[in-house]
């Protein structure tokens, strides 16, 4: 079932299942390629043909608008045929569907499978059963690698670097795949990472990932270059982790008063979709000078184009497909 991973592309991985385990060289390769695609996306002719003749299937076991659309757009701009499949929650509760779906997709000869799954490890499991490259578009509370990559591109374009930056990741860290992927990426790239949130939403062992933990938001974002807010993910929670939205916003919601503790040029990020008034004040979110939220979405398409290109650079006979876009 397994074919050897692509060689000589600088990216010796068959799938993109997570950031954990990627080297700084591999991450840099993806970020550089993404930068190139940003320019193409801003030009009039956005179409390339690297994925011409290839089929990409978006397989989403969890609802999503921006990630799915972003992958779809990225694949279409590279010339691929795109199919979107949404599997309802009720269907996956029956259990067998995941591997049955894998068998079905195998038979359709997809080249890339983009998968989002509500349970940690769901995408890994599927990747073990299919013949094509798999990109994790978010699995449970585990990883969401393309989100971390697009966050990194966004930061790098604004700050010129990742190394040495102080980044605060704030909010519902416990349930966040975005937090885990970002922590792995930023640490690998030499940034200094803090996590900030109520003790019920910050796992006790998170320090083992090489981050500093703060439960006081003001102290946590003090002198930070980047304040990255996370969505409060009530859908993944067993019972209440915070007593009320009002209290949560009071202590951990990002408003101008708290933001004043960060560096004067600190920038604000959010992976979306935002709960306005829960983890972030509307005014702050819409602050054109500070908020990178719209830019993150733009970078998303470029990053996904880069990932698709890298993972499909190999032909079925094993020969690398020539050259990126630059």
């Amino acid at each position: 079932m397994s074919t050897p991973p692509p060689q000589n592309t600088g990216f010796p991985h068959r799938h993109l299942l997570g950031i954990e385990g990627l080297s700084s060289t591999e991450i840099t390769l993806l970020l550089d390629l993404s930068d190139a695609y940003v320019e193409i996306n801003r030009s009039a002719d956005k179409k390339r043909n690297h994925l011409s003749g290839r089929t990409l299937i978006n397989l989403f076991f969890e609802t999503s608008t921006r990630t799915r659309t972003s992958f779809e757009l990225a694949a279409k701009r590279l010339g691929a045929d795109v199919i979107n499949i949404s599997v309802s929650d009720s269907a996956i509760k029956k259990g067998e569907t995941l591997l049955d779906t894998a068998m079905t997709l195998n038979a359709m000869h997809a080249d890339v499978l983009v998968v989002r799954h509500p349970f940690s490890g769901g995408v890994t499991l599927l990747s073990q059963k299919v013949n094509c490259a798999v990109i994790n578009a978010g699995d449970g509370s585990h990883e969401h690698p393309t989100q971390a990559l697009l966050d990194a591109v966004t930061i790098r374009r604004r700050k010129g670097r990742l190394e040495g930056l102080r980044v605060a990741i704030c909010g519902d860290v416990a349930h966040s795949r975005v937090a885990r992927s970002n922590i792995h990426l930023l640490n690998t790239m030499g940034a200094s990472v803090r996590v900030v949130g109520p003790p019920t939403l910050v796992p006790g062992q998170i320090g083992r990932l090489g981050v500093e933990v703060f439960h006081d938001m003001r102290k946590g974002i003090k002198d930070c270059d980047i304040v990255m807010m996370l969505r409060l993910q009530s859908e993944r929670m067993h019972g209440a982790f915070v007593p009320s939205i009002r209290e949560y916003f009071h202590f951990w919601g990002l408003d101008y008063a708290k933001l004043a503790e960060a560096k004067p040029d600190a920038l604000i990020m959010h992976p979306g979709p935002m709960n306005r008034g829960v983890e972030i004040d509307s005014e702050v979110a819409d602050d054109m000078g500070r908020s990178l939220i719209r830019e993150q979405v733009e970078m998303g398409v470029a990053v996904r184009m880069a990932c698709l290109e890298i993972l499909t650079r190999i032909r079925t006979n094993g020969a690398p497909v020539p050259g990126p876009v630059t």
Partner: protein
């Protein structure tokens, strides 16, 4: 020269006299470890000891040359889920019996989490009838503590006990309600019954899929904290203190809980416990990249807990080793980790994984065997697990040093869910004898 016993791995006929000669006799109950032989007459042990050899064999007896291999009481496995009645697609009394026989287990006790639940005399009798029909190893059953495993109302412990239930437990569920547990421990004193707890505070464990810790955090899986086990045991020990009921904690997996049990035993409370091989053979890292075959309840713990389990076996805090056999079909395990079922099959790996404790120098051989034979038998009040003249001839002949690899595809169990597939192990059951009948014989052995 010697003649081999007829190759009847699942023989249903009881032979006449059989002399097992040239064996290393091991009987943990009497601390016997000597070269010798054993003679069976029909279903019973006629004689055994160092004096059995050429010249002392009765005329007409079939002779089995054990070639120096070990002969010990058959294993008594006090924690097995046979899935019949109710989930026969996972295991049946027939396949569990063959699996047990292949693992050197001559007696096993089923958990009551069947469908219907073993909370009624009729179900106890059903198990007994099916065991008689299959007629391989001896099968006993626990009754549930509460009706329908619902955790509310006590079952008819007296009547269930009279029908053959050897103890009471709610199986893979904790008796969570303290008042119910107190009543169970109090009422069971009328019959001297053992109450067996799945020690886990359910509200703390709820939604958890593996041991709480760094690995669970990295994998994005909800954790089951070690204190979920310790808290339930701590509560129960208080209840044992005031009730005097006989209490047994199943599959203890944490250093914290073992320390509590150690103290309770020192204080003279009627408390015992067991563990299962995965808790001394593996730790949480076996979960690796979401391997559902390493999803157990309780979960595989930290390496420090694993070492504490070994130490507790060494100092006798842990009384018995049980397989905690939990067969599941592929559809129950080939799922995202969170959705997969808990548990692994264990009957066929119980002996070799336990023998590793001896091979690694942690425990003397007789102590390992004691935890698998006479000790669980004594806890349950069963006259089994020892070599006694006149007693039923239930024993296992095993090659102590034989290296081999576990291969799940060769399991006799209907289910293959084991994290030990392809694990190198040492020591293997070669022949299993129940009531004088050979119920398993390793081909090519």
């Amino acid at each position: 020269m010697t003649r081999e016993l007829q190759r009847a791995p699942e023989g249903r006929r009881t032979p006449g006299r059989v002399a097992y000669v040239n064996a290393r006799l091991l009987d943990p109950a009497s601390a016997l470890d000597a070269k010798g032989g054993l003679i069976t007459d029909g279903e019973a042990i006629a004689d055994f000891g160092a004096h059995i050899g050429q010249g002392t064999i009765p005329e007409g007896a079939t002779i089995v040359d054990c070639r120096g291999q070990c002969l010990a009481p058959g294993l008594v496995d006090m924690r097995v889920q046979v899935r019949e009645p109710g989930e026969e697609h996972k295991e049946t009394i027939g396949t569990a019996s063959r699996s047990a026989a292949a693992g050197g287990v001559t007696a096993m006790v089923c958990l009551p989490n069947t469908n219907p639940v073993i909370d009624d005399v009729a179900v106890v009798e059903f198990i007994a009838r099916r065991a008689r029909e299959v007629k391989l190893v001896k099968i006993f059953a626990y009754g549930s503590v509460t009706k329908g495993l619902k955790g509310d109302d006590l079952t008819e412990m007296g009547l269930l006990g009279a029908a053959g239930a050897v103890g009471f437990t709610d199986g893979v569920k904790a008796v969570a309600n303290a008042r119910v547990m107190r009543r169970a421990l109090t009422y069971s004193r009328a019959f001297g019954s053992l109450i067996i707890q799945h020690p886990e505070e359910p509200r703390l464990a709820e939604g958890g899929a593996m041991n709480e810790g760094e690995l669970a955090m990295r994998l994005g899986l909800s954790g089951i904290p070690a204190i979920a086990e310790a808290m339930m045991i701590e509560r129960d020990l208080r209840l044992v203190e005031v009730t005097g009921g006989r209490y047994h904690a199943a599959h203890v997996s944490t250093a914290l809980a073992l320390e509590q049990i150690r103290r309770a035993k020192d204080a003279g409370l009627p408390v015992t416990c067991d563990t299962a091989p995965p808790y001394f053979a593996l730790d949480e890292t076996a979960v690796g990249d979401y391997r559902t075959f390493a999803k157990l309840s309780p979960p595989l713990r930290a390496d420090s807990d694993r070492r504490a389990v070994v130490a507790a076996l060494k100092d006798g805090t842990i009384d018995a080793i049980a397989s905690d056999h939990a067969p599941h079909d592929q559809d129950s395990k080939r799922l995202p980790f969170t959705q997969a079922e808990f548990g692994i099959v264990g009957l066929e790996t119980l002996l070799p994984l336990s023998l590793k404790l001896h091979h690694d120098g942690h425990l003397p051989l007789l102590s390992v065997l004691g935890a698998l034979t006479c000790k669980p038998a004594d806890l349950l009040g069963l006259p089994l697990g020892r070599l006694v003249s006149g007693a039923p001839a239930d024993f296992v002949i095993f090659d102590l040093d034989r290296p081999w690899r576990v291969e799940v595809e060769r399991f006799k169990s209907k289910s293959k869910n084991s994290p030990f597939d392809l694990h190198p192990v040492q020591g293997r059951a070669m022949r299993t004898v129940v009531d004088g009948r050979t119920v398993f014989w390793l081909d090519g052995g």
